[in-house]
């Protein structure tokens, strides 16, 4: 409806790339939103219908898929991307921030997605992957695909914002119609993207530029959580902050309190009050005591009296270690040997930059505690692995039960959940 102006796209360099069918759907939905200054591209192995205005379609891998898509095979998707790597590199050239949109359950999104992210990263862009994992009712294959793809993506992209459709659908009524369920997920992704766009693109007193974002997020390779909420009326700041605290995506491990970097953007239509900014700043400081926190404020005329809060909480993930030997072989990505794939199970693992592409498991010795349930069995083939310093991962389970307050609203004060025992929150050990 509102085709992005080319002049604006040059200044921000914000590029949105949809990969695969789900990615394409998201991009088409985005084309309807008035987000000036974002370039939209849709990469796919299947033949998509005519794109909406402002969306550039980049078909690839037709030699392999003959235009029928990957049929849910990760290996196929990866192979297609490898074959047409030149096309993909061309598509992401010149962008400062690449937002990758994909559904990870499918072959193209899951298989080619990480390759696109890597290509964009190599082209010098900050890569933010905004991806969805399948609904619980989908086939087990799609779930295992998504799991592998997510790990590969974490290694390739700077930040991975993952929307679990299973989690999102749990927030809905069971009797919600399927198109609405899908629309809901699209809306959440759309909201997150609008939030990112406001952070980077809208003018304001305290804008968060690409530079800040890059400094905060570059190289974390972790899974991040995000949420965008809106408040209105006199108490809008408080209302929005309370919504954010109770947001399903920011609970437990995903809470900004546990994050390493937290980016917050307060967007209004230019009527942000001093007391609101001050109050929010104080709340966030309390909530994210241990994190690097940046709070920005931008203007978006479309908000019209409402206050929109976007929070991105990023944590350090498993950093893929590039083994020198493997890296030398795979320096040009195209040089990776591409065996013929009969089925992904029957072939030897493909190793790219220290990452086992078939399982997506990074080749590294994990610390005493691993966050993912996978045993580090794949680490063995790499001889240099043993010499690397083991890093201790966070012990990842919910230690603090809510006890007596299981069914009550949590009490927050300056971002701390007061229902948790004080001595635990302060980290005081009873010897």
């Amino acid at each position: 409806m509102n085709p992005p102006a080319p002049a604006a796209s040059d200044t921000t360099g914000l590029l949105c790339v949809g990969v695969g069918r789900a990615g394409n759907n998201l991009i088409q939905a985005l084309a309807g939103r008035a987000l000036a200054g974002i370039r939209l591209k849709s990469l796919g192995t299947a033949e998509f219908p005519e794109p909406a205005a402002g969306v550039e379609l980049v078909p690839f891998g037709h030699d392999i898929t003959r235009g029928f898509g990957c049929g849910g095979d990760l290996a196929h998707g990866r192979q297609a991307a490898e074959k047409d790597l030149g096309l993909i590199r061309e598509a992401v050239r010149g962008a400062k921030v690449v937002v990758l949109l994909a559904g990870l359950g499918g072959g193209t999104g899951g298989g080619a997605g990480p390759m696109v992210a890597r290509a964009a990263s190599e082209a010098g862009a900050l890569v933010v992957a905004l991806v969805t994992t399948p609904f619980s009712f989908e086939a087990p294959l799609r779930h295992s695909n998504a799991k592998a793809a997510l790990q590969a993506l974490r290694a390739a992209a700077d930040v991975v914002l993952c929307l679990s459709n299973t989690a999102a659908s749990r927030m809905l009524d069971e009797r919600t119609r399927l198109p609405e369920v899908m629309a809901n997920s699209n809306a959440i992704i759309g909201e997150a993207l609008s939030g990112l766009w406001r952070m980077l693109n809208c003018p304001g007193l305290v804008p968060i530029g690409v530079g800040t974002m890059e400094r905060m997020l570059r190289g974390l390779h972790g899974e991040s959580s995000f949420a965008t909420v809106e408040g209105r009326g006199d108490n809008r700041a408080r209302e929005a902050f309370e919504l954010l605290q109770r947001h399903a995506f920011l609970q437990g491990d995903c809470s900004p309190g546990e994050a390493e970097s937290v980016l917050v953007n307060i967007a209004t239509n230019g009527d942000l009050r001093l007391d609101e900014l001050e109050w929010l700043q104080r709340q966030f400081q309390g909530w994210c005591e241990r994190a690097r926190l940046v709070v920005g404020a931008t203007d978006d005329p479309a908000l019209n009296g409402r206050l929109s809060l976007t929070a991105v909480a990023a944590r350090t993930g498993i950093v893929p270690v590039v083994s020198p030997a493997v890296a030398a072989v795979s320096a040009p990505v195209a040089a990776v040997p591409t065996p013929r794939y009969e089925s992904s199970a029957s072939v030897a693992p493909v190793i790219l930059d220290g990452l086992d592409l078939d399982t997506g498991a990074p080749l590294r010795v994990k610390g005493l505690f691993t966050t993912s349930g996978e045993a580090p069995r794949k680490a063995a083939p790499s001889k240099t692995a043993g010499k690397r310093k083991a890093e201790q991962q966070n012990f990842n389970f919910d230690l603090v039960s809510k006890g007596r307050f299981e069914h009550t609203e949590s009490t927050f004060f300056q971002g701390q959940n007061l229902d948790e025992p004080t001595f635990l929150r302060r980290g005081i050990t009873l010897n």
């Binding site: 007596r404 307050f405 009550t408 609203e409 009490t411 025992p421 004080t422 001595f423 009873l430």
Partner: protein
């Protein structure tokens, strides 16, 4: 003016107990507590009803006990409300005076107060209480603006909002027992009314009600309520912390809190252990008393510090000359006064009910402050109430006297 022998009943549905106090207004307006009834509360968390059926029984039991003790029948009550949904704020309302002579009428003042009440009242919330603080006529302070001359009158009011549905839940529980609810009153305000004398309110005083599920606080200065609030953290949290830290089941943690609890870590108790009897044939458990005290100290310190942080912008830490008064079950914790003194740097006292007569053990019990405060609130409200239009006796007497 007074209706001698008029009964006023305060009912507090608290997190740890349900408490009903029956009071009688004397001929000169003095209040006497005739009876107290209490029952253990099972359906309330953090000051809000979570299981109305259980609460129903508990209220019935407490009311029956109070009726027995006072030998009266309870028909209506003043009901205390608290919880996370309560929001206290100072707001101001302005009323321009458009008339030619610019004389401020009582109606103008009422309109200004009304405007102040509506400020910042979110959807689904209602005004529980509003207490007037000051008036300004053309930006000059004024004690009583009625009949003053000015272009506008501004009212500063402390307004307490509460979630309509949650208050209705509490009302419904009481009304199911065929008892009318005269008014819902914020619990923190009621406790303060019970324990402060007019002089203390004038001089500046803070009342902190350390309840089971919530901590309610109120700050008076210059004779008016300057600020109040609710922190949905209370004795339950202390118990929960102990259960978590000492790895005890909740009932046992509660028992040990009452038995060994202390708000400060006693250096003498270092290395002291307490042995818990086990009746099911298992090995007896021992717990470290120092750890227990440390866990309690951290939690109670945090609660009081948050209250201090909330009250500081309103000048409570400098102008509460009469001191800080503690009531509720938390006021019974050993050394809590010393802990509060460290934090507030003000004189600290355990609250004692003022200006009410009754059995000494009832008045001296800090846990009954809210219920008795409700009786006082009711008495004050009765005094202010304009005479009813259809009061049969007065109508008759006025006809006869013609």
């Amino acid at each position: 003016m007074f209706n001698p022998g008029h009964l006023i009943v305060g009912l507090e549905i608290g997190t740890s107990k349900v408490c009903a106090a029956v009071g009688e207004i004397g001929s000169r307006g003095e209040v006497t507590v005739l009876g107290i009834g209490q029952a253990r509360s099972r359906g309330v968390r953090k000051g809000e009803i979570t299981d109305a059926t259980k609460t129903d029984d508990d209220v019935r039991q407490a009311v029956a006990e109070a009726e027995d003790m006072a030998n009266v029948e309870i028909q209506s009550v003043y009901l205390a409300v608290t919880g996370t949904h309560i929001r206290c704020q100072n707001s101001k309302g302005v009323q321009p005076i458009p008339t030619v002579d610019r004389t401020i009428t009582r109606e103008d003042v009422q309109a200004a107060i009304h405007n102040a009440k509506l400020v910042g009242c979110p959807n689904g919330f209602e005004v529980v209480d509003s207490v007037r603080q000051d008036f300004l006529v053309d930006d000059r302070p004024c004690d009583n603006p009625v009949d003053a001359v000015g272009a506008r009158v501004e009212a500063r009011v402390h307004v307490i909002h509460g979630n309509t549905n949650r208050i209705a839940t509490a009302r419904r529980v009481v009304e199911k027992l065929e008892i009318a609810v005269e008014k819902a009153v914020f619990g923190g305000l009621a406790s303060a009314l019970a324990v402060l004398t007019p002089e203390q309110k004038e001089q500046g005083a803070v009342v902190i009600d350390l309840g089971g599920g919530t901590t309610d606080y109120a700050f008076f200065h210059g004779g008016v309520l300057r600020h109040s609030g609710v922190l949905a953290v209370g004795g339950d949290h202390v118990t929960n912390d102990l259960a978590n830290g000492l790895k005890l089941p909740l009932p046992q943690a509660e028992e040990i809190k009452l038995k060994l609890g202390r708000a400060l870590v006693d250096p003498a108790s270092k290395g002291e252990v307490h042995t818990l009897p086990r009746d099911n044939g298992l090995q007896p458990r021992t717990i470290n008393v120092e750890h227990l005290q440390r866990i309690m100290h951290l939690r109670l310190e945090e609660i009081l510090r948050i209250v201090a942080t909330e009250l500081a912008p309103h000048g409570a830490l400098v102008s509460a000359g009469a001191g800080v008064f503690l009531c509720g079950g938390g006021a019974r914790v050993n050394d809590i006064e010393r802990l509060a003194e460290e934090i507030f740097q003000l004189p600290i006292g355990r609250a004692h009910v003022q200006n009410v007569s009754g059995p000494a053990d009832v008045l001296g019990n800090p846990e009954f402050a809210t219920a008795i405060g409700l009786v006082r609130y009711g008495a004050m409200r009765e005094q202010r109430k304009p005479k009813r239009r259809w009061d049969f006796a007065s109508t008759l007497s006025s006809i006869l006297s013609r």
